[in-house]
């Protein structure tokens, strides 16, 4: 455990940023937090979390894959991959940190996604324990401890200082590189901070939310559940929940005709969109009910089925805050669990 006095916070950021690019949550022009590059004068946001999740760093919304050029009958293919450089993300919350493990389970298994892998290898994640979780938070439901987040380094805010603990070799290296700014930390202060946070967590309105009724082996029981009709009835079919979700990992590969060649790119896709499963033969999910069901079955049943019971949701609460019609995973879980 190390300690960083808040008076030295800017020196710490400067020291980290001198070696690699540092990103942290900053308030944007409408006062909402988003990850931005640290430069001298940039102040960290005090918001609980960013509007968009931290998955953008490893799985960006759009990404160029390759380019083609045709001259006569020959086609030339260009690899447009940009070499990734080392970077640090500071201030990631426990929920988002847990989402990286979910993305890893998709992109780092065979066949490994080399674009994703390269960014994971170059990125160092510094997480920040929550001290004031919001009423829309429910990470505890999925066994995530907001007071003890994962990541390469974990940070706790205690009076006038940050306590830092390295969890991995990457984390050790990061703290070693700024060792002259750090003092010895205090385990007890961290425990006290954790106890305070956990007391709040226990009192949150969604603290009692359980995964009862969903999870491993529930496919047959839930697939034709009558509640899907009423749950999906008012769904607009927009992609808001998907695009702010830290664990949604689907993408589409598209070709853009530039007029002088083809650029092949991938971009986030949403199972809520009508063309998500559109193939040569047509579309296998023609109604919003089917699309809606897919999104929640994937997170609450299919994913746990294939990943030893781990759920595909981290309880960050972004979809609760952002859904235009306030339909969300909590309402779905409660309904399927027979609580509504």
């Amino acid at each position: 455990m190390k300690k960083l006095s808040l008076a030295k916070l800017n020196d710490f950021f400067a020291a980290v940023a001198a070696k690699e690019t540092l990103y942290l949550p900053v308030n944007n022009n409408v006062g909402k937090a988003e990850y931005k590059k640290w430069e001298s004068g940039v102040e960290m946001s005090s918001a609980l979390n960013t509007v968009r999740s931290a998955k953008d760093f490893f799985f960006p919304q759009t990404e160029n894959l390759m380019e083609f050029k045709m001259t006569g009958k020959s086609v030339e293919v260009f690899d447009t991959r940009e070499e990734c450089e080392d970077f640090v993300i500071f201030g990631v919350r426990a929920c988002d940190a847990a989402s990286f493990a979910i993305l890893d389970s998709v992109y780092l298994v065979d066949p490994v996604d080399s674009y994703y892998k390269s960014r994971r290898e170059h990125g160092t994640v510094v997480t920040m324990a929550c001290s004031k979780p919001a009423e829309t938070c429910f990470c505890g439901t999925f066994g995530i401890d907001a007071a003890n987040p994962a990541g390469d380094v974990t940070v706790w805010e205690v009076e006038g200082a940050y306590m830092l603990r390295a969890n991995t070799e990457k984390g050790e290296a990061l703290l070693a590189s700024v060792a002259d700014l750090l003092e010895d930390g205090c385990e007890k202060c961290v425990e006290e901070a954790q106890a305070k946070t956990r007391a709040i967590l226990a009192k949150l309105p969604l603290a009692g939310l359980t995964t009862e009724g969903v999870g491993v082996g529930k496919t047959k029981e839930l697939f034709d559940h009558p509640a899907w009709a009423s749950l999906s009835e008012s769904c607009l079919g927009c992609g808001t929940c998907t695009f702010v979700c830290p664990t949604c990992q689907c993408y589409d590969v598209r070709d853009f005709d530039t007029g002088n060649g083809i650029k092949r790119f991938r971009c986030w896709d949403s199972c809520m969109y009508s063309d998500f499963t559109k193939m040569a033969h047509g579309n296998s999910r023609n109604s919003q009910l089917e699309r809606f069901r897919q999104r929640f079955m994937h997170k609450l049943v299919y994913y746990p089925d294939r990943n030893d019971g781990t759920f595909g949701c981290v309880g960050c609460g972004r979809c609760l805050a952002r859904c235009p019609i306030s339909m969300n995973i909590v309402k779905v879980m409660k309904t399927l669990g027979g609580k509504n």
């Binding site: 853009f256 007029g259 002088n260 650029k263």
Partner: protein, 145 residues
């Protein structure tokens, strides 16, 4: 001496088949010149021009877009140009509102008999866009060579 590349604007002109397109022909047969930078796209009526055509032209590298149709009252289909006029009025006003240079978009009414007006308009427009420089605010970098 250094080889400085002179800026030649790319201009897209949507021309109505029944008037300005024939006007361009007349300009040609009367040997009235207009810059080769103007690429004409023939449309059956100015009313065929959808706001997306205008934006698409900018995306594909145009530095200026002009729509030329029949004089109000002379539409081959009676009223197409009147509707087109309202649409372009609102679109151009919106582009201006978004901070896109208002000189880059233009509407002109040119009849089949006005070869001279066609040539003059295009020369003027090319001069304006040349002075204005490259389209940066509505460009799509993917389409740049």
């Amino acid at each position: 001496m250094q080889d400085v590349k002179e800026f030649r604007p790319k201009i897209v002109a949507f021309c109505c088949n029944w008037c300005s397109y024939a006007g361009a022909d007349l300009a040609g047969s009367a040997r009235l010149s207009y810059p080769a930078d103007v690429k004409i796209i023939r449309v059956p009526c100015s009313c065929r021009v959808n706001p997306m055509f205008i934006l698409r032209a900018f995306q594909r590298g145009a530095d200026g877009v002009i729509m030329a149709g029949c004089h109000p009252g002379d539409c081959h289909y009676t009223s197409g140009n009147y509707f087109a006029r309202r649409r372009m009025t609102l679109l151009f006003s919106m582009l201006d509102y978004l901070g896109i240079e208002r000189e880059r978009t233009r509407v002109e009414w040119i009849s089949a008999a006005e070869g001279a007006k066609f040539s003059k308009t295009m020369n003027e427009f090319v001069d304006t866009i040349t002075a204005l420089g490259e389209n940066k605010r509505l460009e799509d970098l993917r389409c740049k060579k």
